[in-house]
């Protein structure tokens, strides 16, 4: 007998056990992926009934996606991609720089900086939504209004404690000898960073990249307070008005929901390994 798992289910063989497992895992799949599958099928179905969900397609059509175009869904999708693209780029650069300082240098005030990072992680961002809207409308000292701009949705997600700390942990593991060797060879600070440190950190970039992507893509309150005019709406916040749009119909809403949902699902499926790694490291660090 083997003891691989707590329940030892895998050791149970025989037709009855197999049948039980098929039913059990089947039920899990239905419960957790069923709604998503329903969305996928319904978005391609000529749905007229706003109450029902099509789980099995009678016929497939792209009609909903064509109509979605008339309701500016692709503009919202583009806005989402602009925000997530530049936001993620900024987040990665900011994280890598900060992590390099935290992992590789010794300096006074390091504990204080770490404390700041942890504080921002403990602080639920929803709580500062109201004052954040005031700050965005008139940035202190700079007096710039970021309401109804892409920057207003990009800058606030630019620094993320989680991704800085994950990156820092990873950089600490890069052997310092490599850096010293490069320095002896006469490489400067910048060159050492770009030719030695950064290439070695590629796996960690994958981790914070996929997390950053889903985090920014899932932003709701921020675009809600920044984008007042519909031409800056991101797809997630546009869904609500598509729902109340009488002439758009449920098909457009479903097509738009699918488009809003797919990118992060695809990112997860493509970067599963990195995702799991970040999940456990992030949870442990809390």
């Amino acid at each position: 007998m083997r003891f691989d798992t707590a329940l030892g289910l895998e050791a149970r063989k025989g037709p009855l056990a197999t049948l039980g497992k098929i039913v059990m895992y089947g039920a899990m799949l239905v419960v957790f992926t069923g709604p998503l599958f329903g969305l996928l099928v319904s978005a391609f179905s000529p749905t007229l009934d706003p109450t029902a969900f099509t789980l099995w397609p009678d016929e497939l059509t792209l009609e909903n996606f064509a109509q979605a175009g008339e309701k500016n869904v692709y503009l919202y999708l583009l806005n989402s991609f602009v925000v997530v693209g530049f936001g993620l780029l900024l987040q990665l650069v900011v994280s890598v720089f900060a992590a390099y300082a935290l992992a590789r240098k010794k300096f006074r005030g390091m504990t204080f900086v770490l404390l700041i990072m942890l504080t921002t992680m403990m602080l639920p961002e929803e709580i500062i939504a109201i004052p954040l809207s005031l700050v965005l409308a008139d940035l202190p000292l700079l007096h710039v209004n970021l309401i109804d701009t892409y920057l207003g949705m990009i800058l606030p997600v630019g620094a993320w404690g989680f991704s800085i700390l994950v990156m820092t942990e990873f950089m600490k593991e890069v052997p310092i000898e490599l850096e010293e060797a490069a320095r002896i060879d006469g490489a400067g600070e910048l060159r050492t960073f770009f030719t030695i440190i950064l290439p070695l950190c590629r796996p960690a970039l994958g981790v914070i990249g996929v997390f950053g992507f889903t985090m920014i893509w899932d932003q709701y309150l921020l675009p809600l307070i920044v984008a007042n005019e519909s031409d800056h709406w991101t797809l997630p916040i546009a869904l609500r008005s598509l729902r109340s749009d009488e002439e758009a119909g449920i098909g457009v809403l479903l097509a738009a929901s699918l488009l809003a949902l797919l990118p992060s699902v695809i990112a997860f499926l493509a970067f599963q390994r990195q995702f799991m790694r970040g999940l456990t490291s992030g949870a442990v660090k809390g």
């Binding site: 707590a6 289910l9 998503l36 720089f97 620094a159 869904l239 609500r240 599963q272």
Partner: protein, 290 residues
């Protein structure tokens, strides 16, 4: 000397982008929120100092007190439900087999989905008429159609249902990571002693998972009271305020009624409550550890 000074300059240069962004979009808003909570905020007339009036107003507001209870109930229910279901799933899906890896990835999908989109899907599934998807399924097992989001008595529970659906797989993954770390020889020893599966679970697995449970509790305490998107999309606090939570109320106060001072006070209260909850969980954890 010059070298080390240059080194220090480089350090702060590297940290500057992160610190500036945090300052502008986290700490200044935090301070401003606290500051504005003592004022009657009027866009063109200038702010007027009102002391603790905003706090008095919000504490005396039945809607706010109700919202605090709804948030707490939702947080506790979601946490307990996700943890219980997550543990069950983790135990059932544990193992190195390839098909289990597939089941894990599939079950985990809800966690990475965009909340706003998923909430639209659930809103349709929760349709109160007997043609709604969930009511159709209930019909198969001869249960009468439920109103779900449309009734004051079930709106909060329905939101909780969706939250557990999305939260349990997350907890499952963290628990699975904890299960991997359990010493297999303990299971073997238990089997030699003739322990049943239940006893093995009760005396080996669950105690070993204790640190994992505390991590999940801590995360739940930080995240618990701040729910917004799911409520905003599913019910927007209705029907009749039965699912109003702190954040949806603050949002309405601030952006729809323009009561920025009162809304800021609400934000400060929410922050304090979150802090208390987090510290409480940590204290319980300490006591447990002793």
């Amino acid at each position: 000397m010059t070298h080390s000074r240059r080194g220090t300059a480089v350090v702060w240069l590297l940290l500057a982008p992160a610190l500036l962004l945090f300052l502008y979009f986290k700490f200044i808003p935090m301070g401003l929120g606290l500051w504005k909570s003592f004022f009657k905020v009027q866009p063109f007339l200038g702010d007027e100092w009102v002391g603790l009036d905003n706090y008095r107003a919000i504490m005396a507001d039945d809607a706010f007190v109700g919202a605090v209870w709804h948030s707490l109930l939702l947080a506790v229910g979601t946490t307990a439900g996700s943890l219980a279901l997550g543990l069950g799933l983790a135990l059932l899906i544990e193992g190195p087999a390839r098909y289990l890896w597939f089941v894990r990835a599939a079950v985990f999908l809800p966690v990475v989905t965009t909340m706003a989109a998923v909430a639209e899907v659930w809103r349709i599934m929760y349709h109160p008429a007997d043609t709604g998807l969930l009511n159709t399924i209930l019909g198969w097992i001869a249960i009468d159609p439920q109103p779900f989001l449309a009734s004051e008595h079930s709106s909060l529970w329905s939101i909780m249902g969706m939250n557990v659906w999305r939260g349990a797989p997350y907890d499952m993954m963290i628990i699975l990571a904890g299960l991997v770390g359990i010493d297999r020889t303990l299971y073997e020893a238990a089997a030699v002693d003739g322990a049943t599966t239940w006893r093995r679970l009760r005396h080996i697995t669950l105690p070993a998972l204790r640190p994992v449970f505390w991590i999940l509790f801590t995360l739940a305490a930080i995240r618990g009271l701040r729910v917004f998107v799911e409520v905003y999309v599913l019910t927007n606090g209705g029907p009749n305020g039965s699912s109003e939570v702190i954040m949806t109320l603050i949002y309405k106060l601030g952006f729809q009624r323009g009561e920025l001072g009162v809304a800021s006070a609400g934000g400060v209260v929410l922050f304090a409550a979150t802090l208390v909850l987090t510290v409480a969980v940590q204290l319980m954890r300490r006591r447990q550890a002793r």
